[in-house]
């Protein structure tokens, strides 16, 4: 995936997280639904944010196995 799609995912998940904050502040029922939403979106948000701003992507390599 390229940088633009990571940015898109970051923005979408950020919007979802903001909506969930709002949902909690007005007190939606049941309460755990918002929590599940956060649990599912927060990791995606973090990783896509990092993947968006990190240096370039290249192909994989054989792992580090020895000095």
């Amino acid at each position: 995936m390229n940088k633009e799609s990571y940015l898109a995912i970051t923005i979408i998940t950020a919007v979802i997280l903001a909506l969930l904050v709002y949902a909690v502040s007005i007190g939606t029922e049941p309460g755990w639904l918002a929590v599940i939403g956060v649990v599912l979106t927060f990791p995606i948000f973090t990783l896509s944010l990092f993947l968006w701003w990190n240096a370039s992507n290249t192909d994989g390599d054989i792992p580090f196995t020895g000095y």
Binding site: P30, W32, I62, P63, T65, G66, Y67
Partner: protein
Amino acid sequence: MFNLPIEGEELFVLEFGDIVNYFSLYTTTLFLFATAFIIIAIIARPERQTDIVFGTDAVYIKDVNQENLRFQRFMAIACGLATLGAVSSGDLFNFSLFTALIGITNIGIVAGVNNRYVLNAAYNYGIVAMVATTFLFGGAATALGTCGTLSIWELAGLGMVPLAAKMFLVLGVMGEGMAPFYIAKAEITRAPGAPYVLMIHVSSLLIFLRVIEIILTV
């Protein structure tokens, strides 16, 4: 759930006569986690295990048999489904059966590996798992003998199940899942095929979590 301050609120109940399958916040968490790992086992590409030649800096990639990997995947999915059954069943005997099934499928995951150490460890684990079914069935049967029912729904909060039955259940689950952590699982983990081997740990830790919920509830 059950008016007991143990596992959070009740989410969903599926009634089959006196056997009631229920989902609390706790069991739902376990259920979702197991489901996620089943999906990963279905879609994941298996690892290509590398190894170092001891004492040197040479590296080689282990050769894995494709057919074997396909069998491992099948067994891993079966193991995940058995775990789903174990975390969602509302009946002590069904729980025991699913747990025993997890023991069988765990062996199945590594049975195709052509490594002497892995097979030996799997064999020893198999013996422990088989012995453990005695405790599982014994626990369920003792609960049935003293209470007249196996339904966790009906037994919840009564405290009628004798301590011996609870201990039998825990011992059984430890035999099927936890104890082999020490005698064999470390060796079993050498088997190639990452998402599939991981399912062994997922299932055994989840049934351990579930049995704790059961013994605290009944």
